[in-house]
């Protein structure tokens, strides 16, 4: 697995939760979700996730990421803020979004490698060290001590399976980064130094890899701690994006992907269309609204795989239809949650629409009597998308708007 795979494996989780709200969500669920504080639109998250994965692969610079995210937000009419951390257009916020996701994914990969049998034998411990300078560094010694960490020779060192690593992390993961915009990281400590520092004795058994409480990070199902409180909070924050059965939670976006690639054989239940019912009720169609309010949408593996195979191939698409991508399918839970538009197609069927950022419109037909999808397609928009995105695709032309003394000034391209 690469860092990019780790990012792409995360479920899109749009929510109005702020950073404090997200930090109250169980760490395992957070680690499986791609989110940004107070960003509800799955389309923004979908594009941000793709671009973060490209950056983790070294195929996109931070500057390109910021440029393209701003162009995308602008095209979607997302309001610009005051330039601070709450402003999704600001350099600070975009850098935190990119940096946190890329460093977390890379931290996960390095942590996984550091927990192989041989790596643990040679390097059973690690040290919390500063790896990047910060203007206003946090007091990590205080945080370490407060979380129950012990100092060895004045150093913040502990065995790799020590719970201190998750205890100091704002993300609840034992790998760095341990907080937003943090310049701290870890450095492996070899066996001899671990003995010298008194972390282990010569005859202490090395922690076995299976004892590492290692989170593979990609399983869709996660046992919840404190289910009663979590249940209500999760339903409040995520609605139909999350499915809770018994004391197990699942991101529906992950389930859709697993249905599509055939790794899941059970149905995916996407909950009831409460917000769609609200839209219909606002339009005055109360009878239909009531039907939708009581309808749960269930996607079966059979439908998904038959449908997915047919529509991934462009030749299987009619004239104005565009090929569907995995990312489009991942937007189904979002469409069922907050579509751009709802229409009644027949007595028993409604059509939900969602505009995508590549100039298409997703249309999902839902049979209300069966509670199942009927059709799913992406239509090419009648008019070309706004030029805002294409204008900044790395080939921007710089206009010489001022006359100068420099001879031969011309329009050119630069990057």
């Amino acid at each position: 697995m690469t860092a990019a795979d780790k990012i792409l494996g995360k479920a899109l989780a749009g929510s109005s939760l702020d950073t404090a709200g997200w930090s109250a969500i169980q760490a395992g669920l957070r680690d499986r979700a791609f989110f940004s504080s107070k960003v509800e639109d799955a389309r923004i998250l979908h594009e941000a996730r793709r671009m973060c994965a490209e950056a983790a692969d070294g195929k996109r610079s931070a500057s390109e990421f910021r440029r393209d995210m701003r162009a995308l937000l602008s095209r979607m009419g997302h309001p610009q803020g005051d330039g601070g951390l709450t402003d999704l257009y600001s350099q600070k916020r975009l850098d935190v979004l990119l940096d946190t996701n890329v460093r977390q994914a890379r931290g996960y990969i390095q942590y996984r490698e550091s927990c192989s049998e041989g790596a643990l034998m040679a390097f059973p411990a690690q040290e919390l060290v500063r790896v990047q300078a910060r203007e206003k560094p946090r007091d990590w010694e205080e945080r370490w001590a407060r979380a129950g960490g012990r100092f060895h020779g004045g150093r913040m060192v502990a065995l790799k399976n020590d719970p201190i690593w998750t205890a100091i992390s704002a993300f609840g993961t034992p790998w760095p980064p341990f907080d937003f915009n943090s310049g701290m990281g870890v450095e492996d400590i070899d066996f001899e130094t671990a003995v010298e520092l008194g972390l282990i004795q010569e005859d202490t058994p090395i922690p076995e890899p299976e004892e590492m409480n290692f989170n593979e990070g990609l399983e869709a199902e996660l046992p919840l701690d404190g289910i009663a409180e979590m249940d209500e909070m999760l339903r409040d924050a995520f609605g139909s994006q999350i499915e809770i059965v018994g004391n197990v939670a699942r991101w529906n976006s992950n389930l859709i992907r697993e249905l599509l690639d055939g790794t899941r054989s059970q149905n995916a239940r996407l909950g009831k269309g409460g917000k769609i019912a609200d839209i219909l009720a606002e339009d005055g169609d109360t009878a239909l609204a009531d039907r939708v309010r009581n309808t749960g949408l269930t996607v079966t593996p059979q439908w998904m795989q038959t449908h997915g195979l047919k529509h991934k191939d462009p030749s299987g698409n009619a004239g104005t239809n565009m090929p569907l991508t995995v990312g489009d399918y991942e937007l189904i839970p979002s469409m069922w949650r907050t579509p751009d538009a709802v229409e009644q197609y027949s007595k028993n069927e409604i059509t939900l629409s969602l505009d995508t950022l590549d100039g298409g419109t997703l249309r999902l037909g839902v049979n209300l009597a069966m509670g199942s999808p009927t059709t799913f397609r992406k239509e090419r928009a009648a008019k070309a998308p706004s030029s805002a995105v294409t204008a900044y695709d790395g080939r921007r032309t710089f206009a010489t708007t001022e006359n100068s003394q420099a001879q031969g000034a011309e329009k050119g391209k630069a990057e």
Binding site: E117, Q132, D190, F191, G408
Partner: protein, 206 residues
């Protein structure tokens, strides 16, 4: 030459040795990874040569150190951060897109591409002037404050070049002996731990 010890079944020992190969490879590879990460982080601690804000290039190089999948016979450590090989081996850089490379002329635009500067939603400024003298292989992008401003001197933000040349720097990667020693030291630790484990388990040490 063959040595046969009659009456002693060496097959369990041989199996133990075979089983040991993977952890030894893992340990040795981890030793090299740890050395590389430390080496890149030390490089990251040196100030930017031009006095610009740190780009944390070497820190990102350290983050990109990862093992390649073990093929059962060898382990390999990869550094995937783009630009490390260029700094190590040297070479020429040509633009992938557009016709020129933009080299920041001042710290405020370090890490910012011209296409980001002044793009949608950007709040830092707007480049207003591009010059590329005829027949030359370089140019610049500059900014001038709007009419009515006190200081309207042309302010160069980026130098533009068709190609940049980079000399090799062998110190980018630790030398072979240092890497070999790191791998051997880690492998010895694995063997020692394995011997200890075998002793406590009552089995003959591998």
């Amino acid at each position: 030459m063959e040595v046969t010890i009659q009456g002693i079944d060496l097959s369990p020992l041989a199996k133990q040795l075979t089983d040991l190969k993977k952890p030894v490879r893992e340990g040795a590879a981890r030793g090299v990874s740890v050395l590389l990460v430390k080496h890149f982080r030390e490089k990251n601690a040196t100030p930017n040569k031009k006095g610009f804000p740190r780009s944390n290039f070497w820190s990102a190089a350290a983050d990109s150190v990862a093992l390649k999948p073990d093929d059962g016979t060898a382990s390999a450590v990869a550094v995937s951060k783009e630009g490390v090989r260029l700094r190590w081996k040297g070479g020429d850089v040509h633009p992938k897109k557009g016709r020129a490379l933009a080299i920041p002329a001042e710290g405020s635009v370090a890490g910012v591409w011209p296409s980001e500067y002044g793009g949608a939603g950007y709040k830092g400024g707007k480049a207003t002037f591009l010059a590329w003298p005829k027949g030359r292989s370089f140019g610049f992008i500059a900014e001038r404050k709007p009419k009515g401003s006190k200081d309207r001197t042309l302010h160069v933000l980026w130098w533009l070049k068709e190609v940049t040349h980079h000399k090799p720097d062998p110190t980018v990667i630790p030398d072979d002996d240092t890497m070999r020693e790191a791998a051997l030291k880690a492998a010895r630790s694995v063997l020692r731990a394995e011997v200890h484990r075998a002793k406590t388990a009552g089995a003959p040490p591998a």
